[in-house]
């Protein structure tokens, strides 16, 4: 069966550094063909438009865990009720992705962090200099907490909670940092291990 081999992309232009540019993603295993998607697959995809994405059509092979994962993701990042501002939820995602080395995930969430904060240059420093970059006291506390939580084993503890409180984050905002970084420890591992990023074609 065609599904029982890996896919390789020998001609792919793999991005060589972290970037806020829009990247593509190429799967190493065969995604489900769009015309074979059933109602259950669409329920897992949540948004029907995701049927266009090879990443989501690959994950749709197990639709129930994909659906639960997607709904977890949406509440962590999009729930507008109180807690951490959206820009900083995206920052926690970008920091975890930078630390784990997921160039694709970092590109998406650095772009979102820039969009919502209007601090594109500061976000770019995180990508260029890494998680030790000085982004100002509040963002440093969020990045350091996200990084400590992402280490395996984790080194996150009450000192990080205290540092976030000192920057004015309340408990819900701190829980949002925790969930944002934790979720990207899920996403990074899928993106990194099931395919590879593709740089945009040179203009």
């Amino acid at each position: 069966m065609s599904t029982e081999s890996t896919l390789t992309h020998p001609g792919n232009m793999h991005p060589r550094s972290f970037t806020q540019a829009q990247l593509e993603w190429l799967p190493w295993l065969e995604p489900l063909p769009e015309d074979e998607l059933t109602e259950r697959h669409y329920a897992g995809l949540v948004d029907a438009s995701r049927a266009k994405s090879p990443y989501f059509r690959l994950l749709a092979r197990d639709p129930d865990i994909l659906g639960a994962r997607t709904r977890t993701d949406k509440d962590i990042f999009y729930n507008p009720d109180a807690g951490l501002p959206r820009a900083e939820r995206e920052l926690s995602a970008a920091a975890a992705s930078r630390f784990n080395g997921c160039i694709y995930c970092a590109s998406v969430h650095a772009r979102f962090a820039s969009h919502f904060s209007q601090r594109t240059d500061v976000v770019q420093r995180l990508l260029d200099e890494g998680v030790q970059a000085d982004l100002g006291a509040r963002w440093n506390a969020i990045v350091q907490a996200s990084v400590a939580l992402s280490a395996t084993p984790s080194t996150f503890g009450s000192a990080h909670v205290d540092a976030l409180r000192a920057q004015g984050l309340d408990d819900l905002a701190i829980a949002d940092v925790v969930h944002g970084a934790a979720f990207f420890n899920w996403a990074n591992r899928l993106m990194l291990s099931l395919g590879e990023p593709q740089a945009p074609a040179a203009a």
Partner: protein, 207 residues
């Protein structure tokens, strides 16, 4: 299949994250989690989708093997309490002991690994490449042992992932859909464990 389950999770089971953090109804953390109701519910649904999947189940990935891999992943994260929760579902003490032995052998500090050659190469960090020991391999079997090796890669050095790593799974009898579930399981655990650690720290009174 080498691992066997002693009991299946009850879909009505208590919220696993609440249970692991020790969140009592009406407590501050209970109210806090209630403010992200979907994240809480769907994290639990994720757990159930992986460990008590609804029929028809995608692929043929034995439930007992799922618990064995989860116990391994939690052990590698240095979370014996979480590891115990998953290991308790294993009926075979031999499998549980083999997993414990492999957790000790697989211990490392992540993330490490390599970037594509270029400006990021200065950030490359070497680390162990893990495979199950011959003694435990005899207990766990080739297929589960290959799953554990892949889990170790995902836990500690996911940026070293490659088509070759997936080919090793295919060669050991994993099919494409089962590899997707395996990847989700390991990656979900990486999330669940960190939420538990983060919420525990939040519940600890500051000095």
């Amino acid at each position: 299949m080498n691992a066997v389950v002693s009991s299946f999770p009850d879909p009505q089971t208590l919220d696993v994250i609440d249970q692991l953090v020790g969140i009592a109804p009406g407590s501050a953390l209970d109210r806090l989690r209630a403010q992200r109701e979907q994240a809480r519910t769907q994290a639990q649904q994720s757990y159930l989708a992986l460990f008590a999947p609804a029929e028809p189940v995608a692929g043929h990935f034995e439930i007992a093997d799922r618990f064995a891999i989860a116990a391994f992943v939690a052990g590698l994260h240095g979370q014996p309490e979480v590891a115990r929760l998953y290991a308790e579902a294993l009926a075979e003490q031999g499998v549980a002991r083999a997993i414990e032995a492999e957790v000790a052998r697989g211990a490392a500090q992540g993330p490490y690994g390599h970037y594509p050659e270029g400006p990021l190469s200065v950030e490359d960090e070497a680390g162990p490449v893990y495979a199950v020991d011959a003694v435990q391999r005899a207990v766990l079997g080739e297929r589960l042992s290959a799953g554990l090796a892949h889990a170790h890669l995902l836990v500690f050095h996911p940026r070293d992932a490659s088509p070759a790593a997936l080919q090793a799974l295919l060669d050991a009898g994993w099919r494409t859909t089962e590899i997707v579930t395996l990847s989700q399981l390991v990656a979900f655990l990486a999330f669940q464990i960190r939420v538990v650690i983060g919420l525990r720290a939040l519940a600890t009174p500051s000095a």
